[in-house]
Symmetry: C2
Subunit: 401 residues, 2 copies
């Protein structure tokens, strides 16, 4: 049995980011940049006003001065001429400062009358002026490669004048649930059978992580059911199987796909829930064999599939972020397997997180997993810990799981 960390490293080691594709800005949110985004223009393009008011020469802006208003220049309608001594130009937020002006008289400090304006508060040169390029200059990198684009990034890419962006193609992830005992929701359930929940939960997880899932028909526990799988896997970026439990987890997947060229890297891992995790390669396609148990499947998916998808999508953040928290209740000593306790999170008054493990941790309790906020990490041989002790947790909400 190998450690969780080694397993993760070996899984990631065989993965490369997908190639780039061009998508429209409107489709790019949630995608990962395949190249840095460089500004195609300077923003603001010229010195502009940060406020509504009047542009003038600072030397003309002493309290009590009366200036001649030579025109008005709304944003998008720059003043053509230049501003001379004793003159003021009506301007608005975003208006370009005219040649000759170097100060702004705020609207609330101005009194307009008969084509003139009276200064009611002495101006300061340069104040309330946004300099050309304050946000970014043409040619500057505004978004790095390998960033998952947020709504804010979309705004930034738009402002930098990009209608199209180069992003990594969504990794195609095949999902194969196996087992005689499982039926799809709404279909007839065989005697002693259960409803298949893994494939659709994993599909949602894959989508949330930026991948394109493809759910294969359920494979019964018989080698012939796997005949089509090797064919279907061609061109996929990853094949993820779940279950095979009825003849010993993964034995069937390994033997059935082994005949079709599966090379197994490892298949036992020192963790709970989810001990029987298989990793290998079917021809060119990386294969991740998850346990059939829904809780084990999802916990293993958080730990191994989520970082695998990040790698395939071209993101550098490969392992799910662990963050510190304090225990809200004691935990028992751990054995030789890394344990991932399901629990809730709350905030304490000091800004810290309090993580409390559910009293029951049976790996068949999907309802409890759905109510969990976090996985609480218990390393191999970790001692019993009292309430208040420090632990590391993985927040499930941050992963879109």
């Amino acid at each position: 049995m190998i450690s969780v960390g080694e397993a993760c490293a070996r899984i990631l080691d065989g993965l490369r980011p997908t190639p780039a594709e061009t998508v429209s800005l409107a489709e790019a949110a949630g995608r990962t940049t395949a190249a840095p985004v460089f500004a195609r223009l300077t923003q603001p393009p010229a010195d502009v006003s940060a406020m509504d008011g009047y542009a003038l020469r600072a030397g003309d802006g002493a309290e009590g001065a009366v200036l001649s208003v030579i025109g008005s220049a709304p944003a998008g309608h720059p003043f053509a001429g230049s501003l001379g001594p004793g003159e003021a130009l009506r301007i608005f937020t975003g208006s370009i400062i005219p040649d000759g002006a170097d100060a702004i008289l705020l609207q609330e400090d101005a009194e307009a009358r008969d084509g003139r304006v009276v200064v009611r508060e002495t101006v300061t040169a340069g104040r309330h002026i946004r300099r050309a390029g304050q946000d970014f200059r043409a040619g500057e990198e505004v978004i790095p490669a390998g960033r998952r684009l947020t709504a804010r990034d979309i705004g930034l890419a738009a402002a930098a004048n990009h209608p199209w962006l180069a992003v990594h193609r969504r990794p195609r992830v095949l999902l194969l649930a196996t087992g005689d005992e499982i039926a799809l929701p709404g279909e007839p359930i065989p005697p002693g059978g259960i409803v298949s929940s893994n494939a659709h939960a994993l599909a949602a997880l894959v989508r949330a992580a930026g991948g394109a899932p493809c759910i294969l028909p359920v494979a019964a526990d018989h080698p012939s059911a796997f005949a089509a799988v090797a064919e279907a896997a061609k061109g996929a970026d990853m094949l993820v199987t779940t279950g095979g439990a009825s003849v010993g987890e993964h034995d069937l997947v390994q033997s059935a796909l082994g005949e079709r060229g599966l090379a197994v890297d490892f298949w036992k891992i020192a963790m709970r829930p989810g001990k029987p995790l298989m990793h290998g390669r079917l021809g060119e396609v990386p294969v991740l064999g998850l346990p059939g148990n829904p809780v084990s499947t999802l916990v293993c998916a958080v730990l191994f599939l989520t970082p695998a998808l990040a790698r395939l999508c071209g993101r550098p953040d490969e392992a799910p972020a662990t963050i510190p928290a304090r225990l809200g209740a004691p935990v028992a000593a751990n054995d030789h397997r890394a344990d991932f306790l399901r629990g809730t999170l709350a905030a304490d008054d000091a800004g810290g997180l309090v993580a409390t493990a559910f009293p029951r941790q049976d790996s068949a309790m999907l309802r409890l997993l759905a109510r969990a906020d976090a996985l609480i990490l218990r390393p191999p041989h970790a001692p019993a810990l009292p309430e208040g002790a420090s632990v590391q947790v993985i927040r499930l909400d941050l992963l879109g799981v």
Copy 2:
């Protein structure tokens, strides 16, 4: 001017959740349940084994006993008969415990030979047996109404045998950018103009919050440009405008839409960035008028549009969650406007969050906003605070913004 809290309350007050629609389980992730989900079956359906091994009578399971193996019952292939004294049944994780059995001999504690099995470790009655209904029972609520479905919820709904789910229809949000000075990315930019970034950033934000955005053509700063808007708004769940800055923010939107029936509720709010925020109603359609400045637009969208979408989607979590953090650098005293400083987050060793405001907070710096992890809340008239002081923050990553 009204406070941020009052503005939010008044915006939400006019919103009702959208009606329900039926979607397939495969499409339901990220949607919000319009009704509780009740289990359609009991899980596990009967007492099942939690391990691979043998089912037997506890009284027969003393160390050294030799039992007759009467068959094998993989998961999905329950044993038809009942188990008698001195008998054992080969079973696997998920196998139904046969009538007559009340204990599990683990595989690693068993020695199989010639149709018999030798007990190498005395069994305990009931141990390693998952009781029928341990996860949930038919008729129990497994997912409440008003929950945004995660990948785990999808698995749970599947396990509870739901191929379809009732969710709130995605709220239709019209996005209208206004201004003579703006051009769409890649299109010719007028003199003194800038590239429109708000509509596409807001569309990504609306999608991330569960809504269906519709971007209207840019409206120039002229009343006639608004003629089509009132028509387009019919049937929308919300109309969101940005800008109108060239003639004083929102004056144009208010006057142009006012002729078409816009009833303004309020349009000034004591906050920074984003003072000129307008709220009203165009016929039946709620209208939110955001500032034209991209940073102000997005900050106001986080504060007002995100909770509005949560309300329209049927989620009870109406205000963006504020969480405590400690300052990584001092902040100045605040004036009478609530301020939302852009900054970074880091974790300290004790599990607390450290929030550090960017030194420059100019509301035209979209690049800085894109790099921010959080908004740091500064209430009206808040005093200057030193490094280490407690503040409330809104995490942007949790909002998918």
